[in-house]
Amino acid sequence: MTTTDRTGGVNRRDFLAASGKTAIGAAMVVGSGTLLMPAQGWGMELKALRPETMATMIQMARDIYPHDHIADRYYAIALRAHDDASVDDDAKKALLEDGVGDLNARAGKKLLGGATGDRSYLDLGWEADRVAVLHDIEDSDFFQTMRGSLVVGFYNQKELWPKFGYEGASADKGGYIERGFDDIEWV
C-alpha cells in the first residue's frame, strides 16, 4: 500500500524541524517562544511556558468547554493569564508544565497500550479519547486550575457573547424597553 504526503515525501514534522520549526497538532512552534496557528492566521508569544505546553493547553481548554463554533484563539486568550502568571511564579509554571507532561504521558500510554513514548495528548484524534484522559485527572490541581480559570476567563470575553446570543450591557442603549424585552412570538 502506498501513501502520499502533501509535504512531498517528507514527514511534516521532520520537514518543519529541518527548517527550525516544529509542528504540534495544527500549531507550529517557532524558536522557543512563539506559537503559530498558520491556518487560523494568529499566533502568540509566550513569556514563560513552552509553546508546546500552550498548544496542549489550548486543546485541553477546548475539550473542557467544547464550542465548535468558537475559534481556538478565544481559548488562547483565556489561557494567556497563565503564561503571564508563570513569569514570576515558578510553582504555577511547574504545575502547568508538569500537568501537561503528565497528560502527554497518559495519552502515550493510551495510544501505545501501556508503553510510554513520544506520543502526546494532541495525538489522540478523538475528543472522547482525550476526555477519557481528562476524567482520570479531573480532581488534580492542574485540571481544576485550568477549569476554574476558563469558566471565568473564557466565558467572560465580551467578543464571545454575541456568539452565544448575549447582548451584554444594555443601560447605555436605554435597556430593552424599546428593544425586544417582550418580543417572543412562539408562546
Binding site: D63, I64, Y65, P66, H67, H69, E127, V131, R147, V151, V152, F154, Y155, N156, L160, W161, F164, G165, Y166, E167, G168, A169, S170, A171, D172, G174, G175, Y176, I177, R179, G180, F181, D182, D183, I184, W186, V187
Partner: protein, 522 residues
C-alpha cells in the same frame, strides 16, 4: 444637608449596616428627629456608578472579605470562600436584590403551630402575628412602590415570563403573574419606571428598583438627622460595667480605628456579619459573645430552600432582556404535607448573563453536555425556586480559625440540608421542569443553589429569652439598648423573599425605639 456627628456624641443611635434593615431604620428614626449615624463597611456607589457587567459589578459590590464554609451543602465545595452573594456598599444588598416583595402568609408566622414539630428542626412560632405586621407591610409596600399593591400597576411580562407563564397555565397553575415587585412600573417617588435593562442584580442604573441607596438614605440625610459614614467597618461593640452598650469600634478606609459612642446600637450587617460581630464582641462580662445568654447567636442559620431550573427550546427566548424576577408562580407556596414536606415554595423568573450562567448552571461541570447547554443560551428560559427551609441549630455562623484583614476571626458558615429541604427541592425541580416541558423544552437543567442571597435566622426572635436572641421588637433579650435590625431576626424563613419583611420590621422597630427613647427606657 448631612449631619456629621462627633465620635464622642453619646446621644446618637448607631446603626451598623445600610441595607434593607439598617437603611430603612436610619431614615425612619431621622424622620422622627432622632440623631442617627449609620456605619457602613462598604463604599458609596451611586446608581450611575453601577456596571452592566456581571463580573465587574461583582467586584464593585460583593462582600468578598474572608469567609470559610463547612457542611454538606454543595456551595461549600464549589464556592468554598463565597458562602453568600451579598453586598458591601452603601445600600447593602438592596443594591443587588431582585425586588420581589411578598408578604409572609399568616401560617408562616407560627411555623411550629402550623407544621407541628419536625424532627431535627428547631422550629418556633414568631412572637408576632400576621395581624401585628399587616399595617407595617402596608407602609413598606407603599414606601417601596410594590407592584400589584396600593393600586400600583403590574410590570409588563418579559420573554422569560411569557415562557414560564405559558407552561404554568398548561400545567393548571392559577396564581401566575408578574409579581409584587419593588420596581417602578410607572414613575413614582421621584424615580423613573423600569427600562427593562436586565441588570437588576448589578444595581439598577435607572434607580427604578427600590434600594435604600437612593430612597431611604438621601431622604434621611435631608432631615439633617442622619449621617451615613461609608467605609466604616465595625469591629466590635463596646459596653460598660453594667453591660449596657456604649458605642462601637470601627476601622475607616485607611484601616485607622475609631470609637463612635452611642446611646443605642442597632446591628444590621446581614445574617453572617451580625452574629459574627456579636461573637467577636465577647468580653469578660459576656464570655460567649454579646447578647448570647441563650447560646443562640449564630445558630439556626437559614438560607431558604433554593434551586433553579433552566430549559432550552428550539426557538429563541432571550431571557436576559427585561426585569430579572418579574414573574411568579405561587400555587406551590402553600403548606400541603401531602407533597412529602412541610412549608411551600415560590417559582420566580430568573436569568443570568453568559458569564454567570457558565459559573452557576452546574458548578464544576465541564465537557460537551455542559457546552451544549451554553450553546443554547439565547434559547433558554429560567426560574428560581425559593421555599421555606428548616431552622437547625447545627447550621450556624461560628468564628473560624482564619482571620480577616483586621486580624479578627472570620465567620465560618456551616450548612447542611434538612430532609425537608431536600424533599422540597426535589419536588420543586420536578415541577419547574414540568413547566418548561409543557411548552416544548428540548432540555431542562435542575440547577443547584447559588451562594446564599437570603441569609436568615442567626439572631432569632423569640418570646422567651432562652429560645432566641431578640424579642418581638428586635431588641436583644440581654441588653436593652442593643437591637438587631436585619434578617438575622427571623424566627423562621417563610417561603417568601425576605426584604419586604425586613423593611416592615425596621419600620415597626423605629416606632418602638422612638417610644422607648421618649420614655427614657433606653
Amino acid at each position: 444637608m448631612t449631619a456629621p456627628y462627633d465620635l464622642n456624641d453619646d446621644s446618637v443611635v448607631v446603626i451598623i449596616g445600610s441595607g434593607a434593615g439598617g437603611g430603612t431604620l436610619g431614615n425612619e428614626l431621622a424622620q422622627k428627629g432622632i440623631d442617627t449615624v449609620i456605619l457602613e463597611a462598604g463604599g458609596r456607589h451611586e446608581a450611575h456608578d453601577f456596571i452592566n457587567d456581571e463580573w465587574d459589578s461583582f467586584g464593585q459590590l460583593a462582600w468578598l472579605d474572608k469567609r470559610t464554609t463547612s457542611g454538606d451543602w454543595r456551595v461549600a465545595k464549589d464556592f468554598s470562600g463565597l458562602p453568600a452573594w451579598i453586598v458591601k456598599a452603601v445600600g447593602g444588598s438592596t443594591t443587588h436584590w431582585a425586588g420581589a416583595s411578598l408578604r409572609f402568609q399568616p401560617g408562616e408566622w407560627k411555623a411550629l403551630t402550623t407544621y407541628g414539630a419536625v424532627e431535627g428542626a428547631n422550629l418556633l412560632d414568631w412572637p408576632i402575628t400576621a395581624e401585628d405586621m399587616a399595617p407595617y407591610y402596608a407602609k413598606a409596600e407603599d414606601k417601596m412602590g410594590v407592584t400589584n399593591t396600593h393600586g400600583i400597576p403590574p410590570l409588563p411580562g418579559n420573554n422569560n415570563f411569557k415562557v414560564m407563564e405559558a407552561g404554568a397555565r398548561k400545567l393548571g397553575y392559577k396564581r401566575v403573574h408578574t409579581g409584587n415587585m419593588a420596581i417602578n412600573s410607572q414613575d413614582r417617588d421621584g424615580r423613573t419606571h423600569c427600562q427593562q435593562s436586565g441588570f437588576c442584580f448589578q444595581g439598577c442604573k435607572f434607580a427604578a428598583k427600590w434600594s435604600t441607596l437612593y430612597t431611604e438614605i438621601p431622604k434621611g440625610e435631608e432631615t439633617g438627622k442622619l449621617e451615613v459614614r461609608a467605609n466604616a467597618h465595625v469591629l466590635q461593640i463596646r459596653h460598660d460595667k453594667d453591660g449596657k452598650v456604649t458605642g462601637v469600634l470601627y476601622a475607616d478606609a485607611d484601616g485607622k480605628q475609631h470609637v463612635q459612642k452611642a446611646r443605642i446600637v442597632a446591628v444590621a450587617g446581614n445574617s453572617i456579619e451580625s452574629p459574627r460581630l456579636l461573637l467577636n464582641s465577647a468580653s469578660s462580662l459576656f464570655p460567649d459573645g454579646m447578647a448570647n445568654s441563650s447560646g443562640q447567636v449564630g445558630k439556626n442559620y437559614m438560607r431558604h430552600m433554593t434551586a433553579s431550573v433552566y430549559a432550552s427550546f428550539d426557538k429563541p427566548v432571550n431571557m436576559y432582556r427585561g426585569t430579572t424576577m418579574a414573574g411568579i408562580i405561587q400555587d406551590e407556596s402553600v403548606h400541603d404535607p401531602s407533597r412529602g414536606f412541610v412549608g411551600g415554595y415560590e417559582m420566580e423568573t430568573l436569568s443570568l448573563g453568559v458569564p454567570f450562567m457558565a459559573a452557576f448552571l452546574n458548578p464544576g461541570a465541564w465537557g460537551r453536555q455542559f457546552a451544549a447547554a451554553m450553546d443554547t443560551y439565547d434559547h433558554m428560559a429560567g426560574m428560581w425556586i425559593v421555599g421555606e427551609d428548616m431552622p437547625q441549630e447545627s447550621n450556624a455562623i461560628t468564628l473560624s480559625d482564619e482571620k480577616d484583614q483586621y486580624g479578627l476571626p472570620a465567620p465560618n458558615v456551616h450548612f447542611s440540608d434538612h430532609a425537608n429541604d431536600i424533599a422540597m427541592r426535589d419536588h420543586a425541580w420536578k415541577q419547574g421542569m414540568a413547566v418548561y416541558d409543557a411548552v416544548g423544552a428540548t432540555q431542562t437543567y435542575p440547577t443547584p443553589p447559588y451562594p446564599s442571597t437570603h441569609n436568615l435566622g442567626t439572631n432569632r426572635m423569640s418570646a422567651e429569652a432562652k429560645d432566641g436572641v431578640v424579642n418581638k421588637w428586635g431588641q436583644t433579650h440581654d441588653i436593652a439598648n442593643l437591637f438587631v435590625s436585619d434578617g438575622s431576626q427571623f424566627t423562621t424563613g417563610g417561603a417568601e423573599n425576605p426584604t419586604l419583611t425586613i423593611v416592615s420590621l425596621a419600620i415597626r422597630q423605629a416606632d418602638y425605639i422612638a417610644e422607648q427613647m421618649g420614655q427614657k427606657a433606653i
